[in-house]
């Protein structure tokens, strides 16, 4: 029943997005930014922005100001630990068996010695956090991101990442376990806390783009696309990945300047 409902909502959302998107022309996309639904995306962005200014942002600021830093760190560790089984599956599906094993190891160590994941005990033995999702797995398999999307309340995404989000929901072992144990409320609470914590982490970016940018929509779009590309390639640098390829978002810098420009 739930699956049917979800399928219906997604189909409806995609349909309405495509219809509205087709009626509008792309406005400010760079050559690598696939945003054919820019007009409708901008409207959803404006809605999200208002929701953030009046509801989500103030909740996140209260959380940041009221909950002490060490407690927030522990909550962040706990939430990251819950994601390790999903990350392990995705890293393995991407053929990255070392990081897959690392995520399993982290989950085992932090769930026990780290007291349910509130403390990052695995970090002491050099096991770095693994953060992988189905969208990244699709990307690693060579599936293009497809049109850029802004989702109501959830923010920036793409058609590939939207399908990936559904995939995460379907294969996440922790989520499936909690649903089987009738602990949906706990699952929802962890998702809501994760959303607030992410909002706190992104506070500088969101407030900064609002205050300093000429076009916050375009800034968030390019940041999201650049970040996703980096997450998918699992490389640290922007300018070249491990295969020696420059980022597709790297702009033309070989401009010709005359002597007066020296």
């Amino acid at each position: 029943m739930l699956f049917k409902k979800l399928k219906y909502i997604i189909t409806l959302f995609l349909f309405s997005t495509i219809i509205t998107g087709c009626a509008s022309s792309p406005d400010t996309t760079g050559k690598q930014e696939n945003d054919p639904f820019e007009s409708v995306n901008r409207e959803i962005f404006a809605f999200n922005d208002a929701a953030d200014r009046y509801i989500i942002g103030p909740i996140a600021h209260t959380y940041r100001d009221v909950v002490p830093n060490p407690v927030r760190d522990s909550i962040r560790n706990f939430l990251l630990n819950l994601k390790q089984p999903l990350s392990a599956i995705n890293a393995t599906l991407q053929g990255d068996f070392i990081r897959g094993a690392s995520a399993v190891g982290r989950f085992a160590i932090n769930s026990t010695f780290g007291i349910l994941g509130f403390f990052d005990a695995a970090d002491y033995i050099g096991l770095q956090p693994v953060d992988e999702d189905v969208g990244q797995t699709f990307g690693a398999w060579g599936i293009e991101s497809g049109p850029y999307l802004v989702l109501p309340l959830l923010g920036p995404s793409s058609t590939r990442d939207l399908v990936g989000k559904v995939g995460d929901w379907l294969i996440d072992p922790v989520g499936l376990y909690l649903i089987r144990e009738d602990s949906e409320n706990f699952l929802i609470a962890t998702k809501a806390t994760k959303a607030i914590d992410t909002r706190v982490e992104l506070d500088g970016v969101i407030e900064g783009s609002r205050k300093n940018s000429l076009d916050p929509y375009a800034i968030i779009r390019t940041m999201y696309l650049q970040r996703r590309e980096k997450q998918i390639s699992n490389t640290e640098g922007f300018f070249k990945n491990d295969a020696g390829e420059t980022s597709i978002y790297d702009i033309e810098i070989d401009v010709e300047l005359d002597d007066s420009d020296l």
Binding site: D27, K211, N212, A218, R221, F239
Partner: protein, 199 residues
Amino acid sequence: MIKFIKNVFFTLSIFILSFTSVYAIDKNEAKSFIAKVGQEAINILKIPIEDIEQREILFKKMFNNSFDKKLIHSAILGKARKGASKEELTRFGNAFDKHIVKVYASQLGVYSNQLFIIDDAKNINKKDIIVSSHIEHESAPPLRIDWRLRNRGLGIKIIDIAIEGVSLLTTKRADFGASIKNGGLHELIIDLESKNAQN
């Protein structure tokens, strides 16, 4: 005759371009340069956020000395630069520099025992070298910063920075896209100047 003149121009262009100097950068030199810039940035972070004027003065000094501003202006404008007058380009340059100084002087945060660590230097092509670095802090994950450097005869200069995979040039060009689309460089200059006046 026209064909002959065309050929002469073409040959001359090739000849002139072949003498357009881009100097190779030594990797150790590049690392030392970024270490120096990193120290300057830390000195700015040590100034209280309330003393925004002093932060802006120091950041402007760093931006003027260590960045290839002309190249950055041109790369950000891209095609919008074509056909622009010298006055427009100068006005854009001034507005952009002011914008960058204001944004980063206030957004750089404050110093709280972060460590600035240089990791590596790599050539990505004949012209540019990338210095990788990261900032370590006890209560935050490491923040990766890549610096793209070039020497056009002015000494080593920064031409782009990527923080956690997000490039400054790419982001700024995206930010300015709508203004340029709406009314070209002229519109962008007006928008930037009014933004600067607001902040």
